[in-house]
Symmetry: C2
Subunit: 193 residues, 2 copies
Amino acid sequence: MFTATTDKRVAVFLAEGMEEIEALTVVDLLYRAGIPCETVSITNSNVATSSHDVSIVCDREIGDTRFDFDDYDMIVLPGGMPGTTNLGECEDLTDQVRRFAADGRQVAAICAAPTILAKLGLLEGRRATCFPNLQDVLVENGATLVQDEVVVDGNITTSKGMGTAIPFGLAIVAHYLGQQTADDLARKIVYGC
Amino acid sequence: MFTATTDKRVAVFLAEGMEEIEALTVVDLLYRAGIPCETVSITNSNVATSSHDVSIVCDREIGDTRFDFDDYDMIVLPGGMPGTTNLGECEDLTDQVRRFAADGRQVAAICAAPTILAKLGLLEGRRATCFPNLQDVLVENGATLVQDEVVVDGNITTSKGMGTAIPFGLAIVAHYLGQQTADDLARKIVYGC
């Protein structure tokens, strides 16, 4: 049973070829923490298939006239290939990522997806991280590379890959509900115990 | 692109109310490792909805006349509630879990799901673990409780919870392809680096 602990809402964007664990670990942890979170398909179908052939039924579709970015406080971009390429080519999404970043609203990206933020110029002068093989893209676009599992710089949160999906999700929980709540949740899921 | 590295097949059973990360982390890691793995719905629908309201389209349905347990070398049981209760009440599944265990084929369970094995009498005299709050059930049914993230005793693998889903999946990879392959995969997903 979901019990909301905040009125802020998070949207996780799912493209064909996304990394499903990076996407759904956020959904899972936010549900447990009571932070409203919805999956949003960036295609005209409400089913998105991951890079590992797992098909997920999304809560919303980006092209639905009832879908409104202003219903959300945070945009989350999972990685995976070609999911990241597909997210980066979706202008309806990237226009809003740019707007969220400029307005001080929250943007979070993991694995390959921080390269989307880098290419949009949003990481210039910001501390950030991403999947090891792609870190050159961040540096080339003016980011200060940090080798932590999760890096929070102002309203932009970045993380390294599937193996850091739990710390990434916990950082989002900590943003809304504080570090103690995130630490308590880590214990409840038997993470790092 | 999936490239098989073994002819052994793994089936992950999905019930209504399962813990999606415990289920899909196994699917994800096995796909990356080239170990054939399918999700199997235990209902008459090919869509299973998790305890966190995530709906997943399954590869197979247990009631399909074409579905044959003998196509698989391993049964994987994710946890979550009421998913674990639903799995434990599915006799088509538990009959086969009993048979797999007796025949020396592989059975793996995580979080609450090792209690299914305990209640079937399969953990008597075996080393095993499960979600902390449920460990009494294992002890009452004759298991030797171990506090590792993952416990492998012969053909039965058990693990603690969502926060140990990656080590659980990596242990399955190690079973089929060796510890070095599992360690290499951990590095590729930036786990514990």
